[in-house]
Symmetry: C2
Subunit: 160 residues, 2 copies
Amino acid sequence: MDEPENGDEDGPSVPRVGYEYLDHTADVQIHAWGTSLRQAFEQSALAMFGYMTELDTIEEQMTHSIETSGHDLESALYNFLDEWLFHFCAEPNFIPFRIEITDWREDPQDGSFHIEALGLGEVFDLNKHPQGTEVKAITYSAMQINQRTDYVETFVIIDI
Amino acid sequence: MDEPENGDEDGPSVPRVGYEYLDHTADVQIHAWGTSLRQAFEQSALAMFGYMTELDTIEEQMTHSIETSGHDLESALYNFLDEWLFHFCAEPNFIPFRIEITDWREDPQDGSFHIEALGLGEVFDLNKHPQGTEVKAITYSAMQINQRTDYVETFVIIDI
């Protein structure tokens, strides 16, 4: 913050004239697609990681599995991305360059989805992986999952 | 964009599997205050420039005058900031470290405001002034101008 032009103060830390910066918000919309829901979901997650670093700098040194579910497609996508983001943020800070959905099940009773997936990659390392933009959260804002014959696309806005 | 996992293509530029980044939005809220409307407006503009660079790197090499108006206080604030932003973006890319409102008139007939102001500063130069964040636009979103005795504060969200 710049020094106030008027030196008078109401207290030790609040100048009578001044400014400050409050809420900073930023987001980016990810558009991903494939010939199936699986592929579109996989690409959505890769897009998220691709915003954090350059995916071609990631080597195949380990694998990481996740398991998630959702009561509908939208929540399944949200949870799928959120789960990958969690495993990036938590130890060992895993970042994949490739993601494969190994199991995809829809419950015929309640329409819920259960997903298991495998990531190929390594531990994120700033000395090796260029720093992109921090992804803070997945959102449901304007989320879309459009299914057509042989073509599925997703739109997800992530907070950065 | 990452290479698609599936090499099949619909055409020369649209892989059947892939992703892209769409709309990127970002904003920051500026809170400025003073003992008068003049001071709060002056501080709002300084806050905007303070987001673009470090104000204490700007020397007093020239002055720049602006003149603006608004049919109410909110539009006067919007236009005041927009006018300064315009003069930063246009030749000679003037950036001030100090702003003084030299004339402030309210039309008693229609309640409109007319403002004249002077900026002290110089031509923006990346070799001298550290690059902060580009300010793309002023917005009316959640704008507030609160007046109390001896205390006026403004809240303005700017797109960055």
